[in-house]
Amino acid sequence: MSRYIIRRILQMIPVLIGVSIFVFVGMHIVPGDVATLLLGDKATPESLARLQHELGLDQPMYVQYWRFITKAVRGDFGISLRTRQPAWREVMWALPMTIELSICAIIVAIIVGIPVGVLAALRQYSLFDSLSMVAVLIGVSMPIFWTGLILLMLFGGTLHWLPIGGILDDGIILRQITGIHLLDALILGDLKAFNSALRHLILPSIALGSIPMATIARMTRSAMLEILRQDYVRTARSKGLSERLVLIRHALRNALIPVVTVIGLQLGLLLSGAVLTETVFALPGLGRLAITSLLARDYAVVQAVVIVSALMIVVINLAVDLLYAYLDPRIHYT
């Protein structure tokens, strides 16, 4: 097992190098000169030339890449041109927000998705089944941007139940420890901040969670249907076990195996959904940082964001594979 993990970790290195080349080349071949973009419509030719030289943009691309990668292995991703902060620090400010949002979204997706899937499977072809599957179809096909705005208009605007975007209410100051607001508030014992952060997270979590929620529900439903037909379920029933035990211990546990994979895959996908969610709900996370930096052609930050995201996805995939083995004793890794 440990050898497997080490091998998987070593495999990450070529993946990350590939990603770094991809993002570097990508950033440099897209049209638009970074110096012109930075200086805007009021730049003089002298200041343009000076900036291009300063940024090393007058060097050949392979020189620039070498400089970038040798610094990057030391954890130095350069300085953000937009904010003049170290790019790494910018990413680390934004990352906890996205993690917090993704976890909340996936929790919403799980606590709604799995029960709906199980119930739909148990009452196949019932009204509940068809209605929930229609709802699922809508959930998958609605763009997050749209879902988010509708939720805001309804619960924030018309009904006044929840705040419209942001992390905390004005005037609440929360010291950052992990950067994950709910956790920080708990550590500090600040219930007011916790409550405020939670209220702010509800709508974005539902918006972002709507897509994995739908996928999870569908996956759970089909896995449950599949398993309920298996011999061992019939055996368990015929042994006279209570229906509840049969369902939970025998059926659900086995049905969860494919569901865990789906959850893992969805966690990776959430990053792309986070871009839109964070923009609509004014949350300062990684997705929004990526977009803002990309539009400003802020090389250093974009590169750091992409590499950190790639790292996260690789780690999540590894974690899912390990969980798989944990849930299904038949699976062995060597």
């Binding site: 638009g32 973009l37 003049r84 917090e100 010291r175 007011k192 974690a319």
Partner: protein
Amino acid sequence: MRKRVFTVLSMLVLVSLVLGACGPAATPTPAPAQPTTAPQATTAPQPTTPPPTQPPAEKTLVIAIGADATYLDPESVMNNESGFVMSCIFDGLTKYKKGTSEPGPGLAERWDISPDGKVYTFYLRKGVTFHDGTPFNADAVLKELDRVKNPDNPYYVYKQEGVHSFADFTWGIVDSYEKLDDYTVKITLKEPHAPFLASIAMVWSGIMSPAAVEKWGFDVNDHPVGTGPFKFVEWVRNDHITLEANKDYWGGAPKVDKLIFRVVPESSVRLLKLEQGEVHILADVNPDDYQRIQSNPALKLLEQPGLTINGIALIADAKPWDDVRVRQAVNYAVNKEEMNKFLYKDAAVTAATGMPPILMGYPKDLEPYPYDPEKAKQLLAEAGYPNGFKYKLLCYENPRGYNPVGIKMAVAVQEYLKEVGIELELETLEWGTFLATRRRADNKDLGMVGWSGDNGDPDNFLWEMFSTDNIPVGNTSHYSNPTLDELLRKARTVSDPAERAKLYEEACRIIHDDAPWLFINHTKHVRAIRANVEGFALNPLQMFWYMEDVELK
């Protein structure tokens, strides 16, 4: 079993937590550089200000901005959002008189200008202190200038990587600076430069506390200390910036206790927040929302003639545009009034020449080209193009300050010109590419063009965009007229306002007649506020906010 599912879930959570937790710890920076509450990091659990749990009648005013500020050192930044925030924290030597673009007293109470227009003696305001308690005096001014002008200064702003500031523009003309006594500073210019007082009234010339520069070094970008009506409190990146009232402000204590700039990227959400009362002032308003705001009694839409110009640069040195009749023809062919009404929702006035009518020296009787397609056809025929021609127009896509509708403007122009036989082919480029392409000396394509005034001086429009010296970068129409050059050069050096006004009047007429641009309009300066916000006045310099006057009823 249930335990196992729980373990699975908590493992998932844990993996992400570990990733997140290793983040801040891996940042090799000392505690004060942490993003939030940096100044009070040590005292955060017991804030020195009254805790927010018992606000007797604390008044907090919230302003929504579309993007975060980038950094808050006036000498090393030039973006709008940073400008908004800094205009509340800093004062310059001069300050625009409220509601005008005319420079008046700021940290300097008065000044003398030598007869040759090169030496400025500033008499500084006494008894002013920076927010950190440092006294404001001649030394503070000199240290600030030194940071911008002296490469040997350890905090020379250009030592920072990729710095792109306005300091070139505001202080660039300064040759030397010296202290005459504690409250008198003498600044000598390289050559007489009439727009100088207006330039140093800009946000970008705010004076920073020298003690703060010494304490923070280049990190002063995140810890701004000025003399203005509001003090910096905290900055949570990409979320909000909090300022609190400076009760000792020399211009009178502000009427609200706190000012929060909240970053809300999505414009429909910004408006929703305003409608719900979560924010009180919107910095950017989408033209499509004007009507919705005007019909809501809880909101007010404020508008004022803008310090902007918006149009299309005609390439004056390329056929067929080298013929003045062709350039005039397109000015007759486009119905600008109609565009203002339907595209700009009346938040624009038609342009007649190269600068907005609110500036000094604008000829009162100058009329924009009327919409007259017949006249346009006749001029085209006279110039030898009775059947029109085809040409390419370079466009940017997104809205800009001087043109909130973006490419829609070009599409409308295309339609009007089709009527007189000119076929425009539109090519849309990404903003950076657009700028770079349009500024190449060999570029012969027409281009969408615009400008927002920086210091409220006519020079900032006419010299930048119509002088031969600025071909091809500022003057993208490659228009060159020696008579105009002479007028503009003279107007730069004359200090007497009446005489300058006369020179600009003449310059405006020449530019109108020569029509190096298809002049379209001057978009207005628009902001939306809650109806209970009082004393918030617009002024032509959009960057400048006089928040000390604002009250929350």
